[in-house]
């Protein structure tokens, strides 16, 4: 659960329900509405339905493009386009241009919790082995495969639209039950013809930790995991594990 911030700045905690029942989605819509009011209160502009429709259309197109890029580009390159990446303070081992994988080389899907420059550095190292990495999902990256359809005569509020169409598409491991995550994962493995899977698990995250055996069970391809976040620079340790995965994948 999230604790309220103790900083003096005004903050808003958005509650995202764990379940995906109709009532929970309705609740989430109300939370989004509350967020919009708060944004207006701190100086934002009220979102009009027509503006929302326009924005959504733009986002849908952008996400479609991003989804193509996600599958085609090495994960490190794709992720370096994302907002959480800190370009001002790059990790010392980050290269200006990430190494490219080749189509004939093994394809490894990347699942991860959060994204830091350390993750990018690790991915670049993996890609330098000639591996084609495909980013699948991670917590701060919005799902690129999801779209929101706004009909011209739709009765629903924009918040209900987001809640009903967006949230159920998010492959969130912490949802209860998290069936949607596994549907997404198996689809992605098939669609991208992955040879292996690498889970970059955030340290102390119980959700990822406990789902690992299930991911391994259901993936049907070799899976390895590394933990990032407990050491200042754990990439060498992580790379040992990844090399083992690559060897296994190559032997298949």
């Amino acid at each position: 659960m999230t604790y309220r911030t103790e900083s003096s700045a005004e903050s808003f905690t958005l509650y995202v329900p764990s379940t995906r029942t109709a009532a929970a989605l309705q609740w989430y819509a109300a939370e989004l509405e509350r967020l919009s009011k708060w944004l207006v209160r701190i100086g934002g502009r009220k979102l009009q339905p027509w503006a929302f429709a326009q924005l959504t259309q733009g986002f849908n197109q952008l996400r479609q493009k991003l989804d193509h890029m996600r599958i085609a580009l090495p994960a490190s390159l794709f992720l370096s386009l994302q907002p959480p990446v800190n370009n001002k303070q790059p990790h010392p081992s980050l290269r200006p241009q990430p190494a490219q994988g080749f189509k004939t080389n093994p394809k490894i899907g990347i699942l991860m919790g959060h994204l830091t420059n350390l993750h990018l550095a690790l991915l670049q190292e993996i890609e330098s082995f000639g591996v084609h990495t495909v980013f699948l999902c991670g917590e701060p990256i919005p799902p690129t495969h999801a779209t929101i359809e706004v009909g011209p005569d739709v009765d629903k509020s924009i918040f209900e639209l987001i809640a009903d169409q967006w949230l159920p598409q998010v492959p969130y491991l912490g949802a209860r039950p998290n069936t949607n995550f596994y549907t997404f994962l198996t689809n992605e493995i098939r669609k991208s013809q992955l040879d292996g899977l690498l889970v970059i698990r955030p340290v102390w995250c119980d959700h990822w930790d406990l789902e690992l055996p299930i991911i391994k069970q259901r993936a049907g391809i070799p899976v390895s995991h590394v933990v990032l976040g407990c050491e200042p620079d754990p990439t060498s340790h992580a790379l040992n594990r990844v090399s083992a995965l690559i060897e296994m994948v190559k032997k298949r």
Binding site: M1, S18, R34, C205, L210
Partner: protein
């Protein structure tokens, strides 16, 4: 028997006393046996390391607690439907007990089994084998109990709360779902104050929340009722049936509150902290038998009243420093140790203070259940828990607060620090935060030193 001994004794002496009570004509219910027999029969080998209250009421209390799994198996054999309720600690069972031939219990309670069986149950080892390691709350023992099926019977239905719950618990519940158990989740949102433009409601504990929270949780209880109805084709829960169940739950709550209040305000404690803890625990699901639960508590209340009237206590020496305790200890022995170090437990928050609040009987029963569910100390900020204890400082003359950290539990990571800061800044009261492992023996000298240091700080 003219004179009932009032003392704290070891298991052997307690069993001898039980025989004496029987010879003297004191009656016990049929399920009662010498408490020591659970060591052999159930493997509860921690019991010889504990100190017990000597009263017949206490013997009955321990028997009621330790015989729960047998009771559940008997109920299953008799055709009762068993509902496993998880995490909300105190509310969903009331709904389940409103249905005929239905028993509800918390499989979460298995978290104490490795302690009571001194790890001989191997529940933690089994959990480790399944990748559920010691970095998680001891509640992971529950997962293993579902696998080896050596403890409670597998429930016909499992209803678990999610949302504002511990990550580790939520992740374990998901693993149970993967195993194919009939698990369903209902959602409890984190408690927050209402925004300026939101309609507010006041909860029975005085907290104000947005009305939307109450409406949402009320809806969740209607949903849960429908799930339970699936076990009883053709039966629809009526409001009077639920009101009756609430009424009975309130009776249990009143009994426990009376025991607590008399015990915490008495100049000398009429019962030890360990028995007080066990009595409190009964509130969450009535130890699978609401009627007997009332009898057990009534007997204990009589003992408490009689001892206060006589001015006697089983504790020798009498602890002097009055402390509040937050979180239940993973090892029951810790409750004895506190008193051995001169600390007297006179306020508690064992994570289910909401289950001690009387449920309003003058409103829609589903909404009434929702109001108390939303008082759950574990769905709010840890400062809410500190404030709850702070309200009792004057009433029970609290001199210090002890926060028991539960190893690996998500909520235990930071709450101790937050609570410590709250009491130090607002009240100048010392707060001791200690991690209590499932078996304290290897660290007992360290814990003892910490507790004694707290005692000395207060005394000087």
């Amino acid at each position: 028997m003219k004179f009932l001994p009032t003392k704290q004794i070891h298991l052997e002496e307690l069993d001898a006393l039980y025989d004496l009570y029987l010879r003297e004509g004191i009656c016990f219910p049929s399920y009662c046996v010498p408490v020591g027999s659970y060591v052999e029969a159930e493997g509860d080998i921690r019991l010889p390391n504990l100190k017990f209250d000597s009263s017949p009421a206490s013997i009955r209390l321990w028997n009621f607690l330790l015989s729960e799994n047998r009771r559940l198996h008997t109920a299953r054999a008799q055709g009762f439907k068993i509902v496993g309720t998880m995490k909300d600690l105190g509310t969903v069972p009331i709904l389940a007990y409103a249905y005929p031939n239905t028993i509800a219990f918390y499989p979460d309670g298995t978290w104490w089994t490795p302690c009571v069986m001194e790890l001989s149950d191997r529940l933690f080892c089994l959990a480790d084998e399944h990748g559920i390691g010691p970095h998680l709350c001891p509640v992971r023992a529950m997962y293993s109990a579902f696998i080896n099926k050596e403890h409670f019977p597998i429930p016909d239905q499992i209803i678990c709360s999610t949302g504002a719950v511990c990550d580790d618990f939520s992740a374990i519940s998901q693993r149970l779902f993967h195993l194919g158990y009939p698990l369903r989740w209902w959602e409890i949102p984190p408690r927050r104050p209402p925004d300026p433009d939101e309609t507010k409601v006041e909860l029975p504990n005085g907290t104000t929340i947005p009305k939307t929270h109450l409406d949402f949780v009320t809806h969740q209880f209607h949903m849960i009722a429908k799930w339970i109805e699936e076990l009883h084709p053709g039966i629809h829960l009526t409001k009077p049936a639920l009101q009756k169940s609430i009424h009975r739950a309130n009776h249990v709550r009143r009994l426990i509150n009376a025991i607590r209040d008399i015990t915490f305000s008495a100049p000398v404690p009429p019962i030890p902290a360990l028995e007080e803890l066990i009595a409190e625990m009964l509130v969450i699901h009535f130890c699978s038998d609401p009627s007997e639960c009332c009898e057990v508590l009534e007997a204990l209340l009589q003992t408490v009243k009689a001892r206060v009237e006589a001015g006697v206590t089983p504790l020798d020496p009498i602890p002097k420093v009055r402390v509040a305790v937050i979180n239940p200890p993973a090892d029951l022995r810790m409750m004895n140790l506190i008193e051995e170090c001169g600390l007297l437990v006179c306020a508690t928050d064992y994570m289910f203070t909401h289950a001690l609040i009387e449920i309003p009987e003058d409103m829609d029963p589903f909404q009434a259940l929702a109001t108390v569910a939303l008082c759950d100390p574990m769905i709010g900020h840890p400062v809410d828990r500190a404030r709850h204890i702070a309200k009792l400082i004057k009433k029970y003359q609290i001199q210090a607060v002890i926060v028991f950290r539960i190893p690996g539990a998500s909520h235990s990571a930071w709450e101790g620090e937050v609570i410590q800061r709250f009491f130090q800044e607002s009240y100048g009261i010392p707060v001791l935060v200690v991690e209590v492992p499932t078996i304290i023996d290897p660290v007992e000298p360290t814990l003892k030193t910490q507790l004694e240091a707290l005692y000395e700080i207060i005394q000087t």
